[in-house]
């Protein structure tokens, strides 16, 4: 029997932009066990909810994660709105949807780039990030921030997108979609990419369901869960079908994200077409009293904000369950059997967002 050795992976590692530590137990080049340990980004910001007013905490919620920042703000705001019984105007809902989908686009393009970098395809990394910059330009034009937007607030949104800008966005979507399809074509059909990804880190449908996987990681294994189907914001009006793949390997998870890029572009187009007129926000009066589980589909999966107010201007408790935390059990099951050289690709295939996970 070959000798077992333990290789520490992280917290500081060239393929990881964020620190996570995994102890890999190896037999020769083969991983037999992976023991993750987290805590390098734990800040303790759930407790901040008791120090900031409930309307101000939106900005803290945005900074749970710099990639899905808008979605965290949206999830928190929706939670407070539900507790307080606030009905958000339609135009605000549509604007929220557009910014959510822009965030998803930039997050998926970012991930595709990092994934390409992880498998050693530098050119594809650069191309993905180049396309991502055009999404960031739209976000910057419409909100003022590249990665932290600050436009979502309790009771609506802070900024409008003028008709002129909406038309311009609509015009640029077609060439942008073509560029994304050219990029996606490489991820989906390139022989070397397929050879590197297919059959790697396979998890079946039942196992993925039992492990509680969420988001593209679950959908890559054939579990059709997508919180957007519950119809929050404007998703109920726009009509939406989740993207599902069945193979359960790294290639399937990559394919889900590539196809979600196309789906997001389509959603933005339909949201611009259906954009209603009206006010952007409603006045928020009173203080939250009650509790609510708010759920939003992030680029990485389902995020849950549990919020409890006790009638004061500070919430009593916030609990945030982020998608990466739900997907780490999947990762622990995927790694055994992989070669050491494949570990970065497998780790990246769940799209780990550590700063979300540890809050």
């Amino acid at each position: 029997m070959p000798e077992r050795i333990v290789v520490p992976f992280g917290p500081q590692h060239p393929v990881l932009p964020e620190p996570i530590h995994v102890d890999l137990v190896l037999e020769d080049e083969k991983v037999v066990e992976a023991i993750p340990s987290i805590g390098y980004i734990h800040r303790g910001l759930e407790q901040l909810v008791q120090k900031r007013e409930y309307t101000e905490y939106v900005y803290v919620a945005e900074r749970i994660c710099g990639i899905c920042s808008f979605m965290h703000a949206l999830c928190y705001s929706q939670g407070v709105e539900q507790i307080m019984g606030i009905e958000v105007p339609d135009r605000a809902k549509y604007l929220r949807t557009i910014w959510s989908e822009c965030s998803r686009l930039h997050s998926h393009l970012l991930w595709l780039g990092l994934f390409a970098d992880g498998m050693g395809f530098e050119n594809l990394f650069m191309r993905s990030w180049q396309l991502r910059e055009s999404v960031l330009d739209v976000l910057e034009d419409t909100t003022g921030g590249r990665v932290i937007q600050g436009t979502c607030k309790v009771g609506g949104v802070r900024r409008d997108i003028g008709q002129e800008k909406l038309d311009e966005m609509h015009h640029t979507l077609d060439p942008f979609e073509q560029q994304c399809r050219d990029l996606g074509d490489v991820f989906l059909n390139d022989e070397t990419v397929k050879y590197r990804l297919q059959g790697l880190g396979v998890i079946g449908k039942d196992e993925a369901y039992a492990l509680g996987a969420v988001g593209p990681t679950a959908r890559g294994s054939g579990v059709p869960v997508d919180i957007r189907e519950t119809g929050y914001a404007a998703y109920g009006d726009l009509g939406f079908k989740p993207v599902v793949e069945t193979a359960g390997d790294c290639y399937a998870r990559c394919a889900v994200r590539v196809k979600e890029v196309y789906a997001s572009i389509d959603l933005i187009r339909r949201a611009i077409d259906g954009m209603p007129e009206g006010p952007l926000d409603v006045k928020v009066k009173g203080t939250p009293d009650g509790e609510y589980f708010s759920r939003v589909e992030q680029p990485r999966g389902e995020v849950i904000h549990y919020l409890r107010g006790d009638g004061t201007k500070h919430l009593a408790r916030a609990r945030i369950r982020t998608p990466t935390l739900a997907n780490i059990p999947m990762l622990v099951k995927m790694l055994p059997g992989a070669q050491l050289a494949d570990v970065p690709v497998v780790v990246l295939s769940i799209d780990p967002c550590i700063s979300c996970t540890e809050r």
Partner: protein, 161 residues
Amino acid sequence: MSTMAFLKRSPWILHYDASSCNGCDIEVLACLTPLYDVERFGIINTGNPKHADILLITGGINELNKAVVRNLYEQMPEPKVVVAIGACAATGGIFRECYNITGGVDKVIPVDVYVPGCAARPEQIIDGVVTALGILEEKRMKMSGAAQTKEETRHAVGEST
């Protein structure tokens, strides 16, 4: 003349995320990609602290990360420059009241350049690195000056080298 002179204008960078929200980190990565493309200036992002000249740190550093940051800093060869990126790295930023946040990179290791912003923009980060280059050069001059003085003193007292 320092033997590292050939690195004068091509600094290698080590980036570490010390408890930030990710916003600044993806902007650091964005500097490497086609729109900003710092590699054309010879700036390369390395994963190895032993090859790095400039340490870019984001975030307010939590208790667990203190040892990691100190370790990375100590592994880097002299001369080295530390650039703290974003409001959190400067003061703890929006997280300064969190129980697990030390509150700024300068609480753990010495910092030479502060880049403001939440999240810091790629242009600002590049500007910070360019400022760091000047400081790196100063430190190098000082080091080689000190080495020369030492050598001359040894010659003066007649010691062989």
